[in-house]
Symmetry: C2
Subunit: 499 residues, 2 copies
């Protein structure tokens, strides 16, 4: 009997987050839910991460309604989400009650498996959410953010796994958001964690960006991993993930299998191949592999952000300098893993260092990171930069759990949310406001207009304005056309429209 390796299918969350900037609308998902539910995946990741933000910011879609829709259409397969521990899906720490209420409400609306992570791997930032998930009777998956540094030894990660087990998690996930985990490291890490925590399921989440991680999945399987994350092939690769079908096919003859139905997956593939072609304007510029990430450790999505930051400053040619600066800044932070929000904080500071001189200007977020307000770093920070941060931010460093500094805030958030026009009075709406206080008011007002679908066909059915806008995105300089109009030939120059 072959050993079953579970698959978490990422098409509905991380795959479109990585490939088309999280723009996939609910209309482009519902028709395939039945097939997804029948394929035999261990779980379907479909919520959390950046999808909540994208729903209210771009898609005029209630994320809670999306979750309920998924639960209705996929009743058999566990639904999975990515949750940033004490940050929830926002960008600051929340007081414990807010975290507990978020977990309760999402469980009530249909969430089953919570992948809980902290960008700094400071497990104190996971305590409240792990407890809340367990109290709700759901699956709490404790996460190790994988990174490479002189202090991140196998022993350090294995110790983190042990501490997660002590916290009471149901399973452990190695999260490799930048595709850094190489085959031998995957083998050693899985071997180490399985030896230390033999009773816990071990999952491996890896992006595909560097091109090596399907090999790492193979080595992880050989070392005893229980489940891997993949995305259907038509929604895979580039800054996304390894293709589900390739993972399944590669196991032939190895003594491992997935229990997933390949015929069903191929239907899902066809569906998303068609769907994705409607989101071309949001597609990531990275489509092949990028091994230079092994040096900078910057996840794919972050790279394009930094490029546009630099261009806005008229310094589009300094990207290589920034890439070289990132490892220096990261070392000063005590080798934090680079993942939301630490990747943005370190990346932005590196850009400032290159443009203004090293640490001549500090961002507030970078100061907070240096002063412990995001939690503990993996190792000692550069004391000189800590002093600069203290001076800049006019506050003292902390060593306690950041959440402990927060006063109860639920009632205040509730009061502020309830007065907003369009707020429906639910706890769900209060949570939306709590996490996205700038965006939520506009969303509440426009929600009744219903979800937007941004995936339009640029040829048929689009308005002139939409076509014009789409084409502006495609041309970078003046193009000369020969256009025949009422029988007369004209030379016509078309160029991007500048307001």
């Amino acid at each position: 009997m072959d050993k079953i390796i579970g698959i978490t299918e990422l098409a509905l969350r991380d795959a479109h987050q990585s490939l088309i900037a999280t723009r996939l609308g609910i209309d482009d998902m519902t028709d395939i839910c039945d097939e997804l539910d029948n394929a035999g995946y261990w779980s379907i990741e479909c919520w959390g991460g950046a999808t909540y933000d994208s729903c209210i910011r771009y898609l005029n879609e209630d994320p809670w309604e999306r979750l309920r829709t998924f639960k209705k259409l996929m009743p058999k397969t566990p639904l999975q989400m990515l949750l940033r521990g004490q940050n929830l899906l926002g960008y600051r720490h929340y007081q414990d009650e807010v975290v507990e209420r978020f977990v309760d409400k999402s469980a009530e609306n249909g969430m089953d498996v919570y992948r809980l992570f902290d960008a700094l791997n400071d497990l104190r930032n996971l305590e409240t959410s792990v407890k809340a998930v367990r109290k709700a009777g759901k699956h709490a998956q404790g996460t190790i953010c994988y990174t490479v540094s002189p202090v991140h030894t196998i022993d350090l990660f294995v110790d983190q796994a042990r501490r997660l087990e002590d916290m009471g998690v149901d399973s452990i996930c190695i999260k490799d958001m930048a595709a850094l985990i190489k085959p031998q490291a995957a083998f050693d890490l899985v071997t180490g964690i399985k030896a230390a925590c033999p009773k816990l399921r071990l999952h491996l989440h890896a992006h595909a960006t560097t091109g090596v991680t399907l090999v790492s999945l193979m080595k992880a399987v050989e070392a005893g991993v229980d489940c891997v994350d993949t995305a259907v092939s038509s929604m895979s690769l580039g800054p996304g993930h390894n293709p589900t079908e390739s993972f399944m096919e590669m196991l032939e003859g190895t003594g491992y299998t997935t229990g997933v139905d390949l015929g069903t997956v191929l239907k899902v593939k066809k569906y998303f191949a068609k769907t994705l072609s409607r989101y071309k304007e949001f597609q990531s510029a990275v489509t092949g592999v990028e091994t230079e990430i092994f040096k900078s450790q910057i996840p794919g999505g972050m790279l394009s952000n930094m490029e546009s930051q630099l261009k806005q400053q008229g310094a589009g040619d300094r990207l290589d300098d920034v890439m070289a600066e990132i490892p220096i800044v990261r070392k000063d932070t005590g080798y934090v893993p680079l993942v939301t929000p630490s990747s943005q904080i370190v990346g932005t500071q590196a850009v400032l260092n290159v443009l203004m001189g090293r640490y001549k200007v500090l961002t507030g977020e970078f100061s907070d990171l240096m002063l412990g307000y995001y939690g503990d770093s993996p190792t000692d920070k550069n004391p000189e930069i800590v002093a600069m941060a203290q001076n800049h931010a006019k506050k003292a460093p902390i060593t306690c759990r950041p959440g402990d500094l927060l006063d109860p805030e639920w009632d205040k958030l509730k009061a502020d949310a309830l007065v907003l026009s369009g707020n429906n009075g639910s706890d769900e709406d209060i949570l939306t406001y709590a996490m996205f206080p700038q965006v939520a008011p506009k969303f509440f007002e426009k929600r009744h207009e219903g979800p937007l679908n941004l995936g339009k066909d640029p040829v048929s059915g689009a308005t002139e304005a939409e076509i014009t806008a789409a084409h502006q995105g495609n041309i970078t300089g003046p193009i000369t056309y020969a256009v025949t109009l009422s029988g007369q030939k004209h030379k016509v120059v078309v160029e991007p429209y500048k307001k």
Copy 2:
């Protein structure tokens, strides 16, 4: 000490053959030759396959001049070519003297390593070329075309390797042109061949199309393979090959290394990223992975050919039927591997079977294949279809080496070639005529005009006609533009120009 795994870099031959229909012109290669020569590859594949045909058909470029240029610019690294045994680079069998003269002339012009293969794995079709390469003092690599069928066991392939060793080859290559070799199969096959032929170097050439073969390279390395074929990342993946940088990076900590300089490879990467963007119009439609190839076994390039054959017949919707027909036709042939020319022969017959009824019409090439005129099949053919072929072609089946039926033809080829306008009287020109009798006359006449470079920038520097043509390739239906002409706004509809 880590074991060194050699790398054959494919950028200059199979990579652009697979990704941009073999259109890369010499002008877009010379500037990077110095870096390629300094990287430390075991060899650089740069000639043969479809490049000879493409040179004279599309690029107005003398393939022999290309070879001499490579030798001059890359004096340190062995140059490698792909040669279809008794077929040379053409599409029929040549009499032994022609084969010998081709090998002599290519050796004289700078070729070092000859990868010699026969589409049916009939080793009699390699005898003459292996002998000629050894006589010329060059490296003869005997090839096993990898395929999957009930008769293609590990034992069968290992036996083929033994027979290649008996023929006197310097090394063996497993050639997986359709990306069919899965990790366990790669491990078992390499283990088997290394046990049977421990003194011979073993190379593995695999495409990336199904997404699994980088894992197979890893397993092949673990089983003792000596060299693998990869392509620099910016010229990799899709119907092409695994990225060189990913292969190198994935070996970290495994006890294997490549001896190739990564910094140099990254320079090559940047160069080709830029270059490739100038050949967009030739780019393969396949960019992700396609695991359905495991069923049809049709190599990537072949798929688009068949699609266009079907569309020409107004049967674009029958591709799935053809895909299902291919394994049936292939079984009737005695499970021939599918690679040039057998892939085209089997593919075209499958198209005819679907459109006209099974075996209602036979092509001449398919009849020849069934009657042994391409060589022996791996196992027994369907005798009913052999009888049909005999009836159709009005000739008897043969069992001898096909080359033995051919009368000396060099003098006739020479006489025919020398009278052509523009022929320079060299043996090289006679060989060009011998392999491409239709195309060579036109090429000889226009050769003095010099190489064409098809990689034009569609925005700057292109003529109006070129821009119009390029844009016709991009739009599939009418597009409505708002165009302002002399201050007045017009609604303009642009659609593909139909002659």
